[in-house]
Point group: C2
Chain length 218, copies 2
């Protein structure tokens, strides 16, 4: 039995350690900050998760997920993204509203529910933020993505995903007329602060470098 809280720790670890980015482990303080709890709390929890063989870690050492822990994290992420897709496509939730509710729904325990939800949604491959949905076997398709920052002046690209899925970022994106699959033309880059002038649906706007870093395109 893995509790909801434990699942949230596993998921956090999975997100903090992304092999493809070369980050293979995490620290106590880092995890604590990510989960908005105190390091002492994380320390206690790590002992429990180690006992259950979900993480591997030694006193003062770095934290990594075991195979088992990783598999469980991926299953939770699969549920999270399927629910987000459901909320967005079937229940008319907006881009920025899905995450919070999915944070709760991802912990519902029912094998049949996940399988049927997946089928009901026609086995979607990405969630409303463009993130890949692991399949029933726990396989997560890695999608090659570059950010808006890398796009050359004059070129047009298409938004495939976003990095930050906070409501504040998403609401800003909506205001600019930007959503999944939106065509974005990069007009000019200002070397001074890295901000970029873009054109979306014949409307020009200038966005900050920070914004551009959070937009994945192809």
């Amino acid at each position: 039995m893995v509790s909801q809280t434990e699942e949230n720790y596993l998921k956090a670890l999975f997100h903090l350690t992304n092999e493809t980015i070369g980050k293979i482990d995490a620290g106590t303080n880092e995890l604590a900050a990510f989960l908005s709890v105190k390091p002492a709390t994380v320390n206690d929890m790590l002992k429990k998760l180690k006992e259950k063989e979900l993480v591997s870690y030694e006193k003062y050492g770095k934290i990594t997920l075991t195979q088992q822990g990783k598999a469980h994290a991926v299953e939770v992420i699969r549920k999270h993204r399927l629910w987000e897709t459901f909320l967005y496509e079937k229940l008319a939730f907006s881009w920025d509203e899905v995450h919070e509710v999915a944070e709760q729904l991802e912990h519902i325990r029912s094998k049949k529910l996940v399988e049927q939800l997946d089928r009901f949604l026609n086995f979607p491959e990405v969630d409303p933020h463009g993130d890949p949905i692991p399949n029933a076997k726990g396989q997560l398709k890695f999608i090659q993505r570059s950010t808006l920052v890398q796009v050359e002046e004059g070129k047009t690209c298409q938004l495939v995903a976003i990095k930050d899925s906070s409501a504040s970022f998403l609401q800003y994106a909506v205001q600019l007329g930007i959503g999944l699959s939106t065509q974005i033309k990069v007009l000019h880059r200002f070397d001074f602060d890295g901000s970029i002038e873009i054109e979306v649906n014949n409307k020009r706007s200038t966005v900050s470098q920070k914004f551009a870093e959070n937009v994945y395109v192809k």
Copy 2:
């Protein structure tokens, strides 16, 4: 903030005290048995619920829900029954599988989710067991129901709901070819033990009085 556990206590109290049956309050042991916890645990919880003004009770006295407590219980029941309907109608869950998962889903907190789910299901009035679904205002339609036991010999009736929604009962019903809206003809009642011979889809079977008491018909 009403916790999941607290919600389960409120729901239990709502089900144990049905004004229409003249049962206006409940006891500690009764609640404990219903929830499969010990009386001491219920006693602790009652103090908390009283503090939150969700139940009204005095030491050694009977327990009743306050207006607030009742409203909250009805909201949870609304969610439970909407989710059961969703699972049954959209995700191909069977009659006997919906309850357990709904027991988890009923605690998800999101006003928009409930509203949209209701709309998505086209504002259903009854759940897959024939129980009425409270509307958005918390109004619960009372459905006049008699049981199979009351039906006269020779008459035909239609199943509108069931009392016991345990998997064992439901699976038995399925085996007999009985579901929501099934036509049932009462052929003969054996006075010896109250068992009844019925005809369903041209197939005759004999069911116990206990079974008949759990079947609501019109």
